[in-house]
């Protein structure tokens, strides 16, 4: 059996498009008219300050919340995602921040939890172990043994297991919620490598992160949310991280900073 979906040709075909997504919680407008395009073979970073609506947007896409307004287009068809299971069936896999791994089970058991391979009624441990290795090798994941409890893995390895697990369902879109939070330098690099692997496979990756260095390192485009609204989409190759930070903090909103920016631009062109 093949563990990995056959890589779609990396291009610019839009897999997932959000049109005018809005979500309210009581008197709070958490999301307002969000527009977002996610393309195959592309890493889209979703950034924003605390309370900008990143988590709400992720949960809306993942089916945890349903949007009050707006439409979601997946693979050219308009879809309504009513539950996390429906999102997974469509091909939207989400790795939440808490990973939701079972510490007492080993790596194989965690990878196949809820979709164990069986021979008759009995678990097919050998086939599961074999394809676990195959999957982890394809991802260049550094897991020393798949027969040790997940509790004994490092943070980066646990993140790797969680991401690898999300791939078993043949997704088209993978959402990673703060995958590098609380990781060390080497482990962060390991996870970012993994994100590269996902892009190489032609998956659309949505990366939620607070860390600008990570975003600049792996993302192709950066979508900024501010106070529940779109605040610009940037091509990483043509943007400085200061501009993105300005968009996150809203420095561009304000008249003083705009004037200051204009002045520096004029001075720059004059000299």
């Amino acid at each position: 059996m093949t563990v990995i979906p056959t890589p779609a040709p990396p291009g610019t075909s839009t897999v997932l498009a959000l049109r005018g997504i809005s979500k309210r919680f009581g008197a709070v407008q958490a999301l307002k008219n969000i527009e977002l395009d996610v393309r195959a073979g592309e890493v889209l970073a979703l950034v924003g300050d605390n309370g900008a609506g990143k988590s709400t947007l992720v949960k809306t896409i993942a089916g945890v919340y349903t949007a009050d307004d707006g439409t979601m287009v997946f693979d050219g068809k308009e879809v309504r995602v009513g539950s996390p299971a429906e999102a997974q069936q469509l091909g939207i896999a989400t790795v939440f921040q808490d990973l939701a791994l079972c510490d007492n089970l080993d790596v194989v058991a965690n990878l196949y939890l809820g979709r164990e391979l069986r021979r008759g009624r009995v678990l097919d441990e050998i086939e599961m172990e074999r394809s676990s290795w195959e999957l982890l090798r394809q991802l260049s994941a550094k897991i020393p043994s798949v027969r040790i409890p997940v509790a004994s893995l490092s943070g980066g390895q646990r993140q790797t297991v969680a991401i690898a697990r999300s791939l078993l369902g043949d997704p088209k879109v993978v959402m990673l919620d703060e995958p590098t939070a609380a990781l060390g330098v080497a482990q962060t690099a390991e996870v970012l490598n993994l994100v590269e692997r996902l892009r190489e496979r032609g998956l659309a990756v949505i990366l939620i992160s607070h860390n600008m260095a990570d975003v600049m390192a792996v993302a192709d485009r950066v979508a900024v949310l501010r106070l529940g609204r779109n605040n610009g989409v940037f091509q990483v190759s043509e943007t400085k991280s200061q501009d993105i930070i300005a968009a996150i903090t809203g420095a561009t909103d304000n008249a003083v900073s705009e004037r200051a920016a204009r002045r520096t631009r004029e001075e720059g062109s004059a000299s």
Partner: protein, 437 residues
């Protein structure tokens, strides 16, 4: 075979983050897929298995080692105090006494795997026995019908607990505490004024529990079948693992394990055959242990139970029907309790108001915990019911042989339980420190 040296280990070709380079594949092919990582401490062959085992023990993953050691100590002490403790005759009695508590403890193991508890197993076992007694003895219904009714009653009680737990989120501690009182009351009500019902001596049930023993030839034949089946499944698994490019236990390892298994089965059988032999009731218990162990380790249901015990939220997100798991486990626990109650009544040839009293309850829970099933969920084995029940009943049996009264028995059992729970807590802390929690 000796320990595989690290100099013979190829560099992990995947380390450069660029996928398998051409150079990496050829060297990696020499090792099974699961042994390629350079950080793995190689442990192959017999000596490797021993060193892996000791390192597991040191990190706090004790399994059933403490209970086996405890059992040896207890048996040695009683044998010194009274030379007839390890006699064939007494050990046959011990197997008979162990069965009902052991069957009830099997259910407790399942509930503890989820990190829940069932305090009412004693009452449920007593109620099932009472229902059996009233329908079979007083009403004169056919034995099979009465048995089915008693067992189904246990199942229904478990489903009721499960429904309360999953629908309303009432803690299992409280639900089953209510069950402890409620079903005890129901048991007294069912038994009515007489209080005690005696089963007819010539009934099939009493015959099965008290007089049915395997002939020596049959017992050795069964052991031979088990050994052959074990070796065949091991060899088949080895072949399949090698075919899948994974490491597999060498033939010497399989042979050693088969011999050890043969000794563990044959020596007790020889001793028991010195008297009446292996009782059918005890064999039934062993079969239930093996089936439960298989269900826990090798089926999707068992994997889900362990997962829910480890991380409920994780299990739910993985698509496991958590509600179903809770429901089925509570149902299984109460069913085992009902079966245990029936076996106890059959052995004692009577059911009374004290059947399944507080003793039964706490003995069964203590047996599961002493056997090595963690109170914290997600960790345990069906065999802990067998080993733990042996510890509890050995203490009871040994103290009775010494004609010490129940005051001593309670204190000693309490001490052993306390030691077992302390070991559980300490090993849990150690596992966390060693990253095996």
């Amino acid at each position: 075979m000796t320990v595989h040296g690290s100099e013979a280990r190829p560099q992990d070709s995947t380390g450069n983050g660029n996928g398998n380079g051409d150079g990496g594949v050829t060297t990696a092919d020499q090792l099974p897929a699961d042994l390629q990582d350079e950080r793995l401490i190689a442990s192959r062959g017999v000596s490797g298995a021993i060193s892996a085992f000791t390192s597991r023990l040191r990190s706090g993953d004790l399994g059933s080692v403490p209970v086996v050691i405890g059992l040896i100590i207890i048996w040695a002490v009683f044998q010194i105090a009274n030379g007839s403790f390890l006699s064939s005759r007494n050990l046959v009695n011990l197997t008979l006494q162990t069965t009902s508590i052991g069957v009830i403890a099997l259910g407790i193991v399942l509930v503890l795997l989820l990190g829940e508890i069932d305090l009412s197993v004693g009452s449920v076992s007593g109620l099932a026995a009472a229902v059996l007694g009233v329908t079979f003895v007083n009403q004169g219904w056919p034995l099979v019908i009465s048995l089915i009714i008693a067992v189904v009653l246990g199942l229904v009680i478990g489903l009721f607990y499960g429904a309360l737990f999953t629908r309303f989120g009432v803690p299992s501690f409280v639900i089953t505490l209510a069950g402890l009182l409620g079903f005890l009351g129901l048991q007294l009500l069912v038994l009515g004024k007489e209080g005690t019902l005696n089963f007819p001596f010539d009934s099939a049930l009493v015959g099965f529990a008290a007089r049915s023993f395997l002939s020596p030839a049959l017992s050795y034949g069964l052991i031979a079948v088990v050994i052959v089946a074990y070796v065949l499944t091991r060899l088949r698994a080895r072949g399949a693992r090698l075919a899948a490019g994974l490491s597999a236990a060498p033939h010497s390892m399989i042979a050693i394990k088969a011999v050890a298994l043969a000794a563990v089965l044959a020596i007790p059988a020889i001793v028991l055959n010195g008297d009446r032999g292996v009782s059918s009731m005890f064999l039934l218990f062993l079969a239930l242990v093996v089936v439960t162990d298989f269900a826990i380790r090798r089926t999707r249901w068992g994997r889900s139970v362990v997962a829910v015990g480890g991380n409920v939220e994780g299990a739910r997100r993985a698509g496991i029907n958590v509600r179903m798991i809770y429901l089925s486990v509570f149902a299984a626990c109460s069913t085992f309790a009902a079966v245990g109650g029936i076996l106890a009544a059959a052995r004692l040839v009577a059911v009374g108001q004290s059947s399944g009293g507080t003793d039964t309850n706490l003995n069964a829970i203590a047996a599961a915990v002493i056997g090595g099933t963690s109170l914290f969920g997600g960790r345990g084995s069906a065999y802990s019911a067998l080993l733990g029940a042996f510890v509890i009943m050995s203490i009871q049996n040994g103290l009775a042989l010494l004609s010490l009264d129940s005051s001593v028995r309670y204190v000693v059992t309490a001490g052993v339980l306390l030691i077992a729970v302390t070991i559980d807590s300490l090993s849990r802390r150690s596992r966390q420190a060693h990253g095996r929690a």
